[in-house]
Structures are given as C-alpha cells and as structure tokens.
Symmetry: C2
Subunit: 225 residues, 2 copies
DNA sequence: TGCTGGGCTATTGAATACAGTTTACGGAGT
DNA sequence: ACTCCGTAAACTGTATTCAATAGCCCAGCA
C-alpha cells in the first residue's frame, strides 16, 4: 500500500491538466478581466477555438458557464457577448457584497480561534507592506486574500461560494479605480481583526459593512471624476 | 413599421421551444426535485439522452449547469452524481437564505409603492386560501410566489438571482417537511406587508428574519422526529 | 487463500460533421 | 431615392464519431 506513512507532499502530485473546459474557462475569464475582450464584444466560438488551439466544444461549455456566472450574455442563436456592466448593476453588486461580507465577518467573529486571528494578522501585514511599495497588483491580490481568509473563517461554504463569485465581478468593475484606496483600507482591516479577536459579532459585522461601503463610495466618486 | 402603437400582447408571441439544453435542464431539475432521481445516483449521459429523446450534447450542457448550480456533483472522467444534501449544508443554505430575504424585505420596504403592496396582499390572500384547502403543492407554490414578489419589489437583480438559486435548493431540502408550517407562516406574511406598507425598513427586515428563522427551526425539529 | 497483473468494458472527454436560423447584402420595383 | 424581397454567408444548435480513461473481472502466482 502507498499509505505506509508517506508524507503527503512526497508524491510528485503529477500534473494533471484537468478538464479542458476548465482551462478554457479560466483563460477566457482572464481575457475578460484584463479587458483583452472588451464589454459588448461578440465572441465567436470558432475564432476562440482556433485561437486557443482547441475544438469548439470546450469553448461552448466554457461560454455557458461564463454565462451563468454573469460574465457573458448568451443570446439565443446569436452567440455570446461580453457582459456590459452598468452603473445600476455595479451598485447592486456592491450592495450584495456588503451583505455577504458583513455576515462573513460576524460568523468569523463567532467561530475564529487564535490560529485564525494570527493568519489574518499575517495577511494584513503583507498587505500593508504591499501598500508601501507601489505595486497595485500586489495590493489588490493581498486584499482579495484577506477577505477570502475572513470568509474561510466564517465556515459557511455556501456563503463563501456566493461571495467568491460576487467578489470577482466586483473586482472586475472596481480594478480600474483600485489605486485610490490604499492605506485607509488596511487600517479598517486592523479594526476588523480586533473585533474578530474579541468575538464581537455585531462589531465585526459593522466594521466590515463600513469598510465595504467605503469602497463603494470611492467607486461612485471615481465615476464623477 | 410594427412600432405603430401596437399593444405588447397583440403579437401571438409565437411559441419558440427555446434552446434544447434549457429544456433538458428544466426536465432534469424536475426529476431531481421530485426525487425521481435520488441523491447519490449516478447519471449516465447516454441513458438520459435516450430517455429524453435527444443527443448527448444537450444533456452534457445541462449537467454542467446543474453542477455549477449545486444540484449535481461532476466528478472528472466519472460523470455526474445527484448531490447529497448534508445537515450542515442545509443549515448553511438556510442561513444565507435568511440573509438574502431579510435584505430583500428591507429594500422592498424602502422602494415599494401602493401597487406593489396591493400585489403582495393579493398573493397573500391566495396563499391563505390554499392553506384552507389541503393542497400542499398549492401552498408551497403560493409561498414561493409571495417571496419572489417581495424580491422583485426590492429591485436588485443580482440579489434576486442569488436568492432564486438558494431558494430553490432550500425548497428541495425542505419540501418533505413543508406541510408542518401552514397558517402561522401567512400571519407572518401579513406582518411583513404591514411593515413594507409603512416603509419601515428595519421592521420589514426583522419580520422576514424571524419568518425564515422559524422555517429553519421547523426544519431542525423535523429532523429529530 | 490472498494478492498482483493484464485485458476488457463501459462511460466520459474532445473533435468533427450536419442542419437550422439569423443577419447582411444587393438588386429590382415603385 | 427609398423600400421590399430574395438570396447567400456566417454562426449557432444539435447530432455523430473518435479517442482516452477509470472501473471491473478473471487468470496467474506466491
């Protein structure tokens, strides 16, 4: 048997390419989030297939999943179009995000142990360091990691799944204006950690609500500029 | 031009069957929710295709969407299995549902006009009538319609979409125990309408939270029996 | 008797082929 | 000059075919 006390990482993990549709999905998502495929653009299956070096089949399946996730609009007998974000929808997304994140913070405050808090503090330090340097990418990534960790501490996989989708779309809308909020954001993160540490459910939820509302406001302010 | 003041309903709307994958999706969802396909069961593409009189392709696409929606688990190179609901997951779903419905109630209270309130009252009356008769199906349907209407009044499509998915799954878990809560549920609905009518956001959210928490409790009580 | 190994079958994953629909272009008629 | 109709091209929707992989049974051996 292989189970004879072998450490988990001992096996080379042999790189399985995974289902092709998944890779196509990720590839297209990357192209959309990076604006290489622009909102409103008509996505022709055969072109994408040829461009990616695969058949139409995986492309179709990827497009359908992108459709259910709200990234593309799939008009019958006409094909896929990259979704065009509207002001209203962005606002709705941010509202939902606030809701989900606040609940996650509350649950995290209720369940988190010392280890979890330590994890958050480490991520927070990393984020603050990234703010020091001017690498926008790093900051955004650190921010996502922090929020994901809070969500994990909440221990509700259904909630986490919804938040994951919403967050990714929010980030899509929000990335162009992300550079604005830097240091302030991480101060609020520290406040959140304190509330979680104290097991203060109401406080944690309130802090997170305030936090996400701030990002929402900065989004709208950017719009006017 | 057709736009010469024609009423919307004038055109026969000509029955378009819609994409085949959609129909297959609905058909499979029906089979799952009615327990014709039981949790854990292995779904073989070719069997389903033959049974439905279509090719494997639409079945594949439907299964993938069912997978992303949490109805089936799609194990690589092995196929689709009907998802097996766990206690923990049911609880998490109910938590999220409470969250989404409460927010919807709050937004509905903020935005609803007289027409909207009238709609709710009509649906409520219909529901109460259904409780009078002993048709469980009717009651469940009326309940769903009522909640959907509240969600519509909230005017947040993102929230509505998430709630739609969560609600459907909750109903799947919950249907076997639905007969328990009958009259009480609609009393609470009346309370909700009153709060919405008064534009009391906090009150509406609180009522809805209490309401969904009650259904959650009755779920757990059933478990013990 | 229990275990290992090979080959077989069933089922998914991907590619190709075919049919139906929508859109766009162009010419003829008013 | 403008509109209407017919035709053609392009693309999606569906079916069919081919390839690869996981599971299973049985023979062979310690």
């Amino acid at each position: 048997m292989l189970s004879a006390g072998l450490p988990e990482g001992a096996m080379p993990k042999l790189e399985r390419p995974g289902p092709l549709r998944e890779r196509v999905y990720e590839a297209l998502l990357e192209l959309i989030t990076t604006r290489a495929l622009r909102p409103g653009q008509h996505l022709v299956e055969s072109e994408l297939a040829q461009h990616l070096g695969v058949s139409r089949q995986p492309v179709r399946e990827a497009l359908q999943r992108l459709n259910t996730d709200g990234w593309v609009d799939l008009r019958p007998a006409q094909g896929a179009f990259v979704h065009e974000p509207t002001e209203e929808e962005a606002d709705q997304l941010l509202t939902v995000r606030t809701l989900l994140e606040a609940e996650a913070a509350r649950l995290a405050a209720a369940h988190a142990d010392a280890d979890g808090v330590a994890e958050l503090e480490k991520l927070c330090s990393r984020g603050e360091a990234a703010v020091g340097g001017a690498e926008v990418e790093k900051v955004v990534e650190a921010n996502a990691a922090f929020h994901a960790r809070v969500m994990a501490l909440a221990g509700n996989t259904v909630l986490a799944e919804l938040a994951r989708q919403v967050d990714r779309r929010v980030r899509w809308y929000y990335t162009p204006v992300a550079r604005q909020r830097g240091a302030q954001s991480w101060i609020e993160h520290r406040e959140l950690i304190a509330a979680v540490k104290a097991g203060d459910e109401q406080g944690a939820a309130a802090v997170m609500r305030k936090h996400t509302e701030h990002t929402r406001r900065s989004y709208h302010e950017r719009e006017r500029g």
